[in-house]
Amino acid sequence: MAEKSSKGTQAMDWLDERTGIRHAMDEALNEPIPGGARWAYVFGSLLLFLLVLQIVTGIVMTLYYAPTADHAHASVAYIQKVVPGGALLRGIHHYGSSAMIILAIAHLAQTFLFGAYKRKRELVWIVGVVMLLIIFAFGFTGYLLAWDQAAYFGTKVGTAIAGEIPFIGSLQQKIMLGGTELTTVTLSRFFTTHVFLLPLALIALAGLHVLLFRKAGPAGPYHDRDNHRVDRFYPKQIFKDSVAILLVFLGLVYLALKWPAELGPVADPTSDYLARPPWYFMPLFQLLKYFPGKLAIVPTVVLPAVIFGVLFLLPFFDRKGERNPFKRPLATGLLILVLAVAGGLIYVSKYQDAHNPEFAEKLKQQDEEMHAFFKAPFLPQQIGAKTVAVAAKAASNDTVAPKAYLESCADCHGDKGEGASAPELLGVAAKPNRSHDDLIKILGDSRAYGLKKPMPANFPDLTDEDKKAIVEWMVKLK
């Protein structure tokens, strides 16, 4: 035992001589915490943990994710529906992004309330505000990557809002989109920004934030009651941080398992999808309703500029030493007002959607479509030579599909039966249980033949003549 310990010490000595690890650990673990360890101080460590968690889950998802418009959705569906642990990891990443926003706001709100940005902590505060902006940018860029209906139309609206900004808006929108339309180039840009540029920026800023914090030291409580008490970072604060991290982690796992991260049908730019942003952009979305047209500049530019301008400059114009939130009614009131207005705007937005019959019906329909896709088994995409061969074969069919087929079937099975989101129909009549009569019956009750969603159960709009015309054309497909 003694020999083992001695070998361990020798190894540590070897490492210490080369890295100075003992001194670094001593500095980190024995940092004094004025007023003692507290649950109120866990937010910074929680955010650091979430940053690492988001990076780790994000990196592993790129093992399967394909950032192109043709394949992104299928690769996300594969992660969600097929890969063991995929739904859990995607769910943790999905809810982790919301948790980061909530905790970053809570961390800043607490720092603001306790006046912890004062007394040589201006830079710590400013770096923190920039980090909050980057966390929002993570949410915006990550939202598109699933390339489903919500992602496509949500981002379309988001980039259009960015285009509303006077003078630079149009240029900014083009740079974001990689052109004038939301295309596969946009997806590549958002992917690169989300997985390379923003993480690099956030890691660098997190390092700077911790460094500046260490230099300035913890602010301690806003009152003097515990002035006599000083704890070291290890073990009490680390223990509190660890318990908070465990609770948040278990919460994310629970959410990911109980309510898996949503994924709807693949983006269809021709559809009339009713776009709604994620909850953290909903206050801005709602404000835009009150400031239409040229007034859109108010919520898109003026208000964010004022809020973040105030946040950036706060430590410089609030120079008083007082930190007690109860003795700073203006600051405390302002914080409560901003949070209440943001929460209120989210509520009003949800309320209006729920009480507008047209919107409520459309949103309900979209929700049903999303759930139907979510429950449907995974269908691998057909990629490469066979697809080309099938398309060529289909193109060689010189008979034109009947109008009823083009209106009711072609969107999924292709104009010439070559297949699209649903399987090809070439040679279908040669397959078992797909005779002329079977095909007529399938159009009347597809479930009786074991066909599942997204294939409709029946086609009430088709007349018997329509069904006959479709099937007579289908059996000729070779």
């Binding site: 968690l53 642990g85 290890y234 073990p235 223990f239 490469g384 066979k386």
Partner: protein
Amino acid sequence: MSVHHASEENHSERRSFLGVLSGLIAAGISAILGVTIGRFAISPALSSTSAEAWTDVGPLADIAEGKPTKHNVIVSQNAGWGEFNSQKLVWVLKNGEKITVFTAVCPHLGCTVNAKEEAFICACHNSKWDVAGNAVAGPTPRGLDVLEHKIEGDVLKVKYLDFKQGVSQKEVLS
């Protein structure tokens, strides 16, 4: 033992107890994530297989008599979110009724095998095979790999497979 010493010992024990608990929490989270990520990253790679399906080489009438001819076949491979249909090369040798289909993948290191003057060669490392696919020169560990074939109607079909390279015995990769 003095009261002072006892108090210091209690304090030290509490420190190490909280430290151990923090370590257990870190280990627990790492274990959950580690197992999930391990399954996520490795499991599909181990279960991925090439589809063993018959694929068309072409009409029998189009295959030249008595000399190796090169043909493209389309092979489906289930690779995660897609069924990838890629073109592969095979060599067909037809002598009357007797047909032999070789894969064009060199059994040495996987370069493409070509035909030259009634024989097969691999230009990467100068391996050579006779027209029957027997190894005659170079580092190749075995003869050319023969693929199972059949004739349906007037169409030649082949069951395309991948084989392990660098070993003397033909071994199907699965």
